[in-house]
C-alpha cells in the first residue's frame, strides 16, 4: 500500500520546500511520526521518475561538506498533482469508513 502511494508521499514531503534525497526521507519520517520505514534507496528512483514526468525539477548544488548534492523541488505541475491526489486521498477514508460501518457482524441467514 505504501509503495502505491509513494509518489504522493514524496510530493507531500517536498511541498514544504526544495530538498535533497536524504532530507526528503527525513521529512517523510518526521511528518509520518516514524511510521514509514521504507528502504531509503527506493526514494531515488521515485525522485527520478517524478522529475521525468515534470512534477519535480532538480539542480546540482555544493553542500557545506563540499559534496555535490541534487536538490529537488516541486514544479507547478507537481503542486497541482499533489492537490489532486490529496483530494482523492481525503475522499478515500470516508469511503472506506462508510463501507466498514455497514459491514458489522450479522447473523447467518436462516
Amino acid at each position: 500500500m505504501l509503495k502505491g502511494h509513494l509518489d504522493m508521499i514524496v510530493l507531500a514531503a517536498l511541498s514544504s520546500g526544495p530538498a535533497h534525497g536524504y532530507a526528503v526521507i527525513e521529512e517523510i519520517r518526521r511528518k509520518s511520526g516514524q511510521a514509514f520505514d521504507l528502504p531509503e534507496g527506493t526514494i531515488y528512483p521515485v525522485l527520478h521518475r517524478l522529475e521525468q514526468a515534470g512534477l519535480l525539477s532538480s539542480r546540482w548544488v555544493t553542500a557545506d561538506t563540499g559534496r555535490r548534492r541534487r536538490i529537488y523541488a516541486l514544479t507547478r505541475r507537481g503542486a497541482r498533482a499533489l492537490i489532486e491526489r490529496r483530494a482523492v486521498w481525503q475522499r478515500f477514508p470516508e469511503a472506506i469508513g462508510g463501507l466498514l460501518a455497514d459491514a458489522g457482524p450479522r447473523g447467518s441467514p436462516a
Binding site: 528502504p39 531509503e40 534507496g41 531515488y44 528512483p45 527520478h48 559534496r67
Partner: protein, 378 residues
Amino acid sequence: MISDYLDRLGGALSFDRALAHRVRVEIEDHLREGTAADPSPDRRGAEKRAIAACGDPRALAAEFAVIALAKRTRRLGVGVFLGIVGVLIAMKARVAWYALMQCAMSDDVRSVAAFVGSIDAGAFWASLVLGIAGAAYLGGGRAPTPLARTRRFRLLCAAATAALTVSVISDGVLTSIRRRVRAILSRLLDPVRNILHRRADRYDPRPCAASDVHGGVAKNVRRRGSVSCPPRAPLASTVLLPRDVAVGVVRLISFQMCSSGLCPEAVTEALACSIGGEKRRVRCLKIANINLLLKFLRARRCPGPSDIREVHACYTLRCARSTLPCSKYLLVIKDVITIHRSNAIQRFSPELNRAGGRGICLRSDGRTGVGSDGNCLL
C-alpha cells in the same frame, strides 16, 4: 565499504553511464550524510547501517532501469515521428520533382500509379496516426505500470513502422513505374547542360511563326483573319528527325503572352524540349514551371509589345478567339539540336529558318493544344 556499495550500484547501472554517474553521486551523498547522522561512535558500524537502510543495489538498479527504459522508449517514439515526417517530406519532394520534370505517363500506367499511390498515401497516413497515437498514449500515462505502457507503446510503434514500410514499398513501385521517364530525363541532362551554356546570339522572330507539333507530327496553324500571316508549309519535314537521332532538344527563343509583350530573350536559355523515341514525340522540360518563369520575366525590364510587334500581332488574334484566358503563352522555336546515336550533334536551325522559324504552341499545362480546326489553342 561505501565505495564497494557504490561500485556495485554503478556496475548494475552500467547500461546508462550518465545515469550511473548521477545516481552514484546522489547515493554517496546520502550514505555519507546517513553515516554522519548516526549517533554511534562506531564509524564502520554506522556505514554498515546506512548501506543496509539504502537497500540492495541490484534492486535499486532495477527500478532505475525501468525509468531509463521508459525514457528510451520516449526517444524511440520521437525518432519514429521524425522518420515519418522525413518520409512525408521526401514523398512531397518526389511529387514536386516529377511535376517539375514533366514526367508524363500513359493512361494505363497512370491508373496503376494512381492505385499504388492510394495505397501509398493510405499506409503513410495510417503510420502517422499510429505514431501520434503512440506518442499520445505514452504521454497520457493511463497504463497501470510503466512496463505495460512501454509494451503497448512498442506495439503501436511496430504497427506504425509496418505501415511506413508499406508506404516506402509503394513509393518504390511508383518510382519503378516512372523508370522509363527517368531514363528519358537522364538522357536529357547532357543536352540541357549544353544548351544552358549557350546564348542565343540573335533573336529573329518571323511573322506568324507559330506551328503546332502534336504527336510528333507538325501541322501548320491556320491564321484566319490575319493579313500578315499567310499559310505556311507544314513543319513536319523539319521536325521529324532522322531515325538514328537519340535525343533532340528544341531551343525556344520567344515567350509571348497574348495580353502583353514580354522579354523574348529571357527564355532563350531557360526552356527546352526534347524530341526522341520511336514516334519522335516532343517532350518539354520545365514547362510546368512556367509560373516561376512569368515571375522572372515580370521582375525584369522587358521590352514592350512594340519590340516583338509582328509575333504579337499574330497571336493576339488567335487569343481573342480562344475560350481560354489570355494568360496562356506561346513559345517559338529557335532551333533544334539533336544528338545522334553516334554522338554527333546536329543543329536544325537552317531547316527551321527555311520553314519560317516555326514555333511550337504549348498550353500552360505543358501539352500541345490543337483545336478541331487545326488551330493552336492558346
